[in-house]
Amino acid sequence: MSALNVPLTIYVPQDAAALAVGADAVADAIRIEAGKRGLHLRLIRNGSRGLHWLEPLVEVATPAGRVGYGPVEPEDVARLFAEGLAEGHGGLGLVEEIPFLKRQTRFTFARCGVIAPLSLDDYAATDGWKGLARAISLAPAEIVAEVTKSGLRGRGGAGFPTGIKWKTVLDAPGTQKYVVANADEGDSGTFADRMLMEGDPFHLIEGMAIAGIAVGATKGYIYTRSEYPHAIAIMNSAIAMARDAGFLGGNVMGSGRRFELELRVGAGAYVCGEETALLESIEGKRGQVRAKPPLPAHEGLFGKPTVINNILSLASVPFILHKGAQAYADLGFGRSRGTMPIQLAGNLKQGGLFEVGFGITLGELVNEVGGGTASGRPIKAVQVGGPLGAYFPPALFDTPFDYEAFAKAGGLIGHGGVVVFDDTADMLKQARFALEFCAIESCGKCTPCRIGSTRGVETVDKIAAGRDVTANLSLLEDLCETMKFGSLCALGGFTPYPVLSALQHFPDDFARGPMPAAAE
């Protein structure tokens, strides 16, 4: 570099997915190499852009924009510098031009991977707090109306209109109300909540403060998983910083309104992602689901009216308030408005986070965006919506990503997780796993889930062993019906989705003849 006083700015993510593939060692190697070359280095630990197959993705600031290099191993660093990394030579070119990123519409993840997660200056410089500033200039009912008009639906999976939920809490009598962010992201194949908390934590805080002011809640809780230690640390720092800067506390942005925020950590129970089990857990109880009604909007946390939303719903709100409901509603498909942060995972060449307006087909997602399987083998099945989501065969790849279209095809979009399996997958094993997982994670409150899951595993084992296959298959279907309609919550109620879809679309995997005893 010619000018020693102009620092060389390099970004190395500190997102957990990047750390898991060695980002810290890469950052160290860059520091050492820059030192050797006498360069004035400004190393920023950003969140992840969501181009996970390229992690650790190193970015170098150049006059033309940020140039990417990845995946980078520590051993590559000296060579990359020798080839002109400091000037932006070589590598992947401009990160914003990478098709996977260019094709997206980033509303919720606009800042993720771009800014330093805990920089209040970066946040404010990228339209941060503008939604909250507008919210405090409005009457609570006007904020709620704006959210309703945007068409935003709950991103946790149920797809319930967020504005209607907020209105119920706003209209509920009572002086103490709560806002709860459900960041208990337990579905395999999902990581959007984690990425947002690690890469853009003030964004969630802003969304929650808007929700608090809209419904008259003075206290909010974020409930996340103990499996996310990095997200917990960043989120806790962000809460403290936002409070010190006056975005939380007794006088939110000088509005005279109070909103306090606290992070709570779960303890390894998947079922706590179910909203009423989550509330029980914050209250210090076993994470057992509550019967509804009463709805949490009427009697939620500590028996008070409570808005409980997925964090992606809450993080959609600052954009809606800042740019207006119409700008959000302009995107989408049918009754699914706005964008969905889709998480591409499993056996894919290009896995990561892909935020796009609803309506993209499953086939486009896995073949075009995801680039097909990492193993190079044909895709056999795609599970959408986590462990409770259906397995889709390639024949259904024309299904558009939309709440209603997926329901019609016998599945659900859930929290937007997409897990791809190649042709080595055994769908009987996957069906068994779904039931086994339900048995491990069942809260035990209702019988269809508690007992049905275990009986289901036993029945699949009999099918696998070739015992009375036809009779046991119909027994399994019957059991799934009971679980579907008799369970108290989605854990027991939706476990039949992966089981029945595996049965329906991949019957060959269940047509087992008797096996030799040694193989059992």
Binding site: S188, D193, G268, A269, G284, R286, G346, L348, D422
Partner: protein, 171 residues
């Protein structure tokens, strides 16, 4: 002589005082959360961070502090997978067993790790060196298969990469 007295004291007095000291430390941790609404989980996490597990004595002390029954607190401790009633091994290996990791060969990694450690999931080595646990999703589904070794995250595991991790842990 002093040595013999010391031994004698350890034998008779130390277990009592150890128990009392433990209760004292537990009380201190619990007191940090006085006034916190729904403090049970934060208290249990803090106790486990301090002791490495949730000692049996914690149940009645939390119950007393929160004015709840011991049965209720025991119910909470036993409900959540995270809380241990016994200390874990020196190192804890958590291997993800969920779908995204399965799709990328997680099963082969798991088989290798189990064989090399000589452990099944949920077991601790007899010498107390390693505990092997299943975990259902670390949110690293696009860099699968994934694991957490103590506080360190590891992605894109293969049996060979897992072998290097295991070799570091074994004495």
């Amino acid at each position: 002589m002093a040595g013999r007295w010391g031994k004698l004291r350890e034998g008779i007095v130390a277990p009592m005082s150890h128990e009392m000291a433990e209760r004292e430390r537990l009380r201190e941790v619990i007191a940090r959360f006085a006034g916190v609404e729904g403090a049970t989980l934060p208290v249990l996490h803090a106790i486990q961070a301090e002791f490495g597990h949730v000692p049996a004595a914690a149940v009645s002390l939390i119950a007393e502090a929160e004015n709840r029954s011991r049965a209720e607190i025991h119910g909470v401790v036993s409900f959540y997978h995270d809380f241990r009633e016994q200390p874990a091994g020196q190192h804890v290996v958590k291997l993800c067993r969920a779908e995204a990791c399965q799709s990328m060969g997680g099963e082969a990694v798991a088989e290798h790790v189990c064989r090399r450690l000589g452990l099944s999931f949920g077991e601790t080595a007899a010498d107390g060196s390693v505990t092997l646990e299943p975990v259902f999703c670390l949110g690293l589904c696009s860099t699968a298969p994934a694991a957490m070794v103590d506080d360190r995250l590891v992605g894109r595991l293969t049996p060979a990469k897992a072998e290097r991790l295991v070799a570091e842990l074994l004495p």
